[in-house]
């Protein structure tokens, strides 16, 4: 069994990981469950498959045609953007040159911890995770964790400094910066730096870090160097902190692109969409300008004359 101090650390790590999953899921569900809204798409819409941004509205009597919707194109667009920040590259190259590596370092540090966790699982099941492993999986887990860790820590340190410098030197960026942003850059830098210190000074193969993760999974005691404790705590805090920042756009961006920007689903009579709209039209309106009959249903207000007497059924 772990000593109380180690156990507190292990539980903290587990809780923080569970927290981030719950927090992101909550945000995602919250956005998905918001009411259906009016159409507000912007072209080009990838699933329309038009090179110039055309839509099905270019077809005569479009409602009589079968819709050719290629969702793969939407998904491909999103993946490409997540992987390479294509939009930033095309429209804001200077910022991309700092922002992109910084974000890549996020991918890498998360990937590093995932592969360390898989490696730890391997250790539990008797897999040798090292260069000397006879098993290809053991070697792969070793090398991928090593590669993602080293690259992530180095790029993350440079990226965080780069972002800080960008915000401080670019007049437009500086104007819209706030203390939280600066705090974030410094905090992320410390997180990446702590990992770098672990690798350079204490654990060049991340074997100890993997052992620590094994102990987290099994809740067994382990002797830890302070550097590993510091990095694992900072990384857990980093995950928790992200949920309080705008970084959740990673998850919610997916929703907004599909639900608004590319949402060109026509409302067909008797469809689910029509049913959803009808539900919204049945709710009362509390807007109080003179031309709105406060307290009546949306469907009533929308057909009533703006000149009719205001009934003020305010709730």
């Amino acid at each position: 069994m772990s000593t109380p101090a180690v156990m507190v650390l292990q539980i903290f790590i587990i809780v923080s990981y569970l927290y981030i999953i719950c927090a992101y899921s909550y945000r995602l569900i919250k956005y998905i469950r918001m009411p259906v809204h009016l159409r507000w798409e912007i072209y080009p819409v990838p699933h329309e498959g038009s090179k110039y941004g055309g839509s099905y509205f270019e077809e005569l009597e479009w409602w009589k045609k079968t819709r050719k919707k290629n969702t793969i194109k939407d998904i491909f667009y999103i993946i490409k953007d997540y992987l390479f920040f294509v939009q930033y590259f095309a429209r804001n190259r200077k910022y991309w040159s700092v922002l992109y590596p910084w974000h890549v370092s996020f991918y890498l540090i998360v990937a590093f911890h995932v592969f360390i966790a898989f490696g730890a699982l391997g250790l539990i099941f008797g897999l040798n995770v090292s260069t000397a492993s006879a098993n290809a999986l053991g070697q792969a887990l070793y090398y991928i964790a090593l590669g993602t860790g080293i690259a992530g820590f180095i790029i993350g340190c440079l990226g965080s400094i780069g972002m800080l410098i960008s915000r401080l030197t670019d007049a437009d960026l500086k104007k819209f910066a706030n203390p939280r942003l600066y705090f974030s850059y410094v905090f992320y830098f410390v997180v990446f730096l702590s990992g770098l210190v672990v690798w350079i000074v204490y654990d060049p193969t991340f074997a100890d870090y993997r052992e620590f993760y094994k102990s987290v999974a099994t809740l067994h005691n382990i002797n830890l160097t302070p550097a590993i404790v510091i990095h694992s705590v900072l990384f857990a805090l980093f995950l928790v902190y992200m949920t309080f920042t705008k970084a959740s756009h990673y998850v919610t961006k997916f929703v907004i692109f599909f639900a608004t920007r590319w949402n060109d689903i026509p409302n067909v009579r008797g469809s689910k969409m029509e049913q959803k709209i009808q539900e919204r039209l049945d709710h009362a309106v509390s807007w109080s300008a003179p031309h709105i009959q406060t307290g009546e249903k949306w469907s009533e207000v929308a057909v009533e004359s703006p000149f009719s007497e205001k009934k003020d059924k305010e709730k």
Partner: protein, 537 residues
Amino acid sequence: MKQKTTEKITTAHLGKPCEQLVDIKAGDLMALPYPYDGTDKFSTIAQLKEEQRKRYEASLDGVLAVSIPKPASPAEEKALVDKFLSGLSKLLDKNDNWTFLQPLKFSLDYCARCQTCNEACPIFISSGRQEIYRPTYRSEVLRQIVDKYLHGQSKFSNWFLGNNVELNWTTISRLAELSYRCTLCRRCAQTCPVGIDNGLITHELRKLFSQELGIAAKELHETGTMLHLKAGSSTGMKPSAFLDIKKFMEEEIEEKTGKKIEIPVDKKGADILLIHNAGEYLSWPENPAAFAIIFDAAGLSWTLSSELVGYDGVNYGVWYDDVQFSRVAIKHAQIAKELKVNRIVVGECGHAHKALIVIADRVLTGDLNIPRESCMPLLEEIVSSGKLKLDPMKNNFPVTLHDPCNYVRLMGVVEPQRRILRKIAPQFREMTPHGVENYCCGGGSGFAIMQSMNFPSWRSVISGRMKLKQVLGAFQDVISPEVKKFVCAPCSNCKGQFRDLFNYYNVGATCNIDYTGLVDLIVNSMVDLKEPFLEVK
């Protein structure tokens, strides 16, 4: 005291009283190409009269679009602040604002403050990057107000999050004006890598002011949707006047083309109900006349409506008020239902396209959900079918195409109008950029019809500047006034903006550039026309 340098302005300044927050000088503005290069002649925004300044809140940029009277007492100031806050909470309520809650919440919550969108904004760029016109500026102000005054953050949190806007009468009245310094072209939203829509935030701000405080640009509300619903048209045109104009158009058609056409009105069971922007009947009757010539020649079963609201396809609600928007859209659908038509076709009016075909799609349910489409694919079908005998050489002059934001970027109708022009206009050339990346004419979101105070001057100097640059750019090789040139602007409001813009810059005399609709060019190329439909001198 006037704020001297725009660079120093931050969101905090919006609530700090001063004579005028921004003073735009001619030298600040984006340069124009030949023959408008090197001159500041057309670059000065008209000054308000002293009496107007005294009466209305004009301390944002010395321009009035909404014209909020200055408060008479501190109680009046407080009432405005309270009402704004109550409206703001309704804006974030799923029942009051189901219409746009999801994209609004996202846009408020997740802006990464990367400022990528700024370069996409024609107003920000044309104005010489005036801080207050930055697409992110008004959004950031609203975001801070939500955070600070609705979420009730602590003093530390407000400092940590940079919430430095003070909510007072000055902030709100300037914010109301500021919501009418964006044409809702949504180029910024198209550019945003994260999916933030600053255009939507502007739209929602206008909505808050209208639906809760009863504050809106007069031309959009009082003489816009209210007049539309009362008199039948935002132009004030009554059904009898519409029928007179219809008769006039028939006479004009006969005189110009030798064709005797009876324009069908209120024809029950017709295939198509054609809806025009009523501004066409008054300002450019040749446009609906050209539609009549084409539809007649193509042998279509169609009709116009003489019902109140039915002969005016505009829906100004789309720019500022969801309730008014729904009222007009439902009226259009009810008229189509009563006429028992198979479909509604929207004429050359961009916002009418977007309003009735796209946005109203989630307002019209049951038997009001009548198929609706753009006139562009229909016109393309007619031109391609060979039903009209066309001679492109009749249009042998330089023509460029303006893409109305509302049905190009925001609806994806991009190519039909181009395919037509390639067939009928041998000297057709594109602007840069074009298609879904076009620039707004500068009259979008109602600006083209807003004529009060010194707003038209601001519109010509600032919001239309980028479009003028594009037009001049497209015709640089034939810029001499000896060559007649046309901007094909298949949108009534855009045409209104081109009319004002070209008059302001004296483009006709200087460069011999005119504007016209697409159907006008089609009819001009018809072989069996007695005389040219367009004046080409």
